[in-house]
């Protein structure tokens, strides 16, 4: 549904954030977008939602170039940026002013999401803390019911119970015709929610795979020093001994995805990891 083709983009002439970068996203997925600081995660999200325009190449939502910012693409997508300002009105007023831009807007989703976050429509957007503001905006985002939803560091600023409420809200708003892209460094906050992982590094996509495919090819384990076999793709010290990533030779899913380990392994040994994923 979302096609990034040979994208080149930079904020100045000398330094390019993306060079000849391509990526394709399918439907019905919650994708985690991971990458080190400054590798262009937020930039990519802005480009995909038409807020920035590519210097070369194109980005297509269902075949339509998003740079034209046509109502039929803008009405189908929503972005929750990491930082944003909201007008000094009540949420009720905000909803009534903005809902008409989103043809699939759902009052039911808004109600259930507000209930999940323990909020109501009478809150005043000018009088909220950062976390509260984020939750209010996230409720509106989910209620727009767009087929393409992008969230940049959504769990930043959320208190402990809100992180769990956030997962519930996203899980309950998800349908087969939607795609949600979540960019984050707080991997523990979202790992059980994801069914797809994308790791980018400037001009390259280091990984773009479903979680089940990843777990069919890799095992994530805690081993003590005596249990190391030399077969490990990546190791890092942990309380129990070593956290390791191993090639999965059984062909079946054996362990749960450990996003942090996967990310570190992919950045440390991009070539070896790519090899594991070649058929």
């Amino acid at each position: 549904m979302m096609e990034v083709k040979e994208l080149t983009f930079g904020y100045n002439r000398r330094q390019k954030v993306f060079e000849n970068f391509s990526l394709s996203l399918g439907e019905g997925k919650i994708c985690g977008l991971l990458g080190k600081n400054g590798t262009g995660k937020s930039t990519l999200l802005y480009l995909m939602t038409g807020l920035l325009r590519p210097q070369k190449g194109g980005i297509y939502y269902k075949g339509i170039d998003v740079r034209h910012r046509l109502p039929q693409t803008l009405g189908e997508m929503f972005i929750v940026p990491e930082e944003f300002a909201l007008p000094r009105v009540t949420l009720r007023k905000y909803v009534s002013l903005n809902r008409s831009f989103y043809p699939r807007f759902s009052d039911e989703l808004l109600r259930s999401c507000l209930r999940d976050f323990d909020m109501n429509e009478d809150i005043h957007l000018g009088e909220l803390s950062m976390g509260q503001k984020k939750k209010a905006y996230m409720c509106f985002a989910l209620a727009t019911n767009t087929r393409f939803l992008v969230m940049d560091e959504p769990s930043n600023g959320l208190d402990i119970p809100s992180k769990s409420q956030f997962r519930r809200a996203v899980a309950s708003g998800m349908t087969e015709d939607k795609t949600v892209v979540i960019s984050t460094h707080q991997v523990r906050d979202i790992d059980s929610l994801l069914d797809h992982v994308i790791i980018i590094d400037g001009s390259r996509t280091l990984l773009n795979r479903s979680v089940s495919d990843i777990c069919r090819r890799l095992c994530f384990a805690e081993l003590t020093a005596g249990e190391l076999t030399g077969d490990e793709l990546y190791t890092q010290p942990s309380v129990q001994g070593q956290s390791v990533v191993l090639p999965n030779r059984l062909g079946e899913e054996h362990t749960t995805l450990n996003l942090e380990l996967l990310f570190n392994a992919t950045l440390a040994h991009p070539q070896q990891m790519a090899q594991v994923f070649t058929d």
Partner: protein, 122 residues
């Protein structure tokens, strides 16, 4: 190779549902929550719960009634007990027996310990 078990999430969820069936939270021939409801409860992706339900269906622990949802199969509790017993005998017990040998425990010693345990925990 020995893993400190962290089995895939979809199987952990399937196991959780089996526990709930055994505890009587869902009765045989009774309806269980929809995939979406369950995904929200355990805060995971809907597709993960779809896989858990597919797995339980393949094990004949639950079944699907078109348009009505998922129901606990007749005889599910017994089936779960059987499966867990098989798993214990084939996977966990050999591990324990291996440790008995490493500790130098004789079969008689093990039998005595088990006898004492039964006396203390009637």
């Amino acid at each position: 190779m020995k893993f400190k078990e962290s089995c895939p999430i979809y199987l952990q969820i399937a196991d959780r549902i089996c526990d709930e069936i055994c505890q009587g939270l869902y009765v045989e021939e009774g309806r269980i929550p929809s995939v979406r409801e369950y995904a929200v409860t355990v805060e995971v992706n809907v597709n993960t719960v779809v896989r858990s339900y597919d797995y339980l269906q393949s094990q004949e622990i639950i079944y699907n009634k078109r348009g009505l949802g998922y129901f606990v199969s007749h005889g599910a509790v017994e089936a779960i007990r059987q499966q867990r017993k098989t798993h214990f005998m084939q996977v966990e017990l050999p591990e324990i027996l291996k440790q008995f040998r490493e500790m130098g425990l004789s079969p008689e010693g093990v039998a005595r310990l088990y006898g004492e345990y039964l006396k203390d925990n009637p």
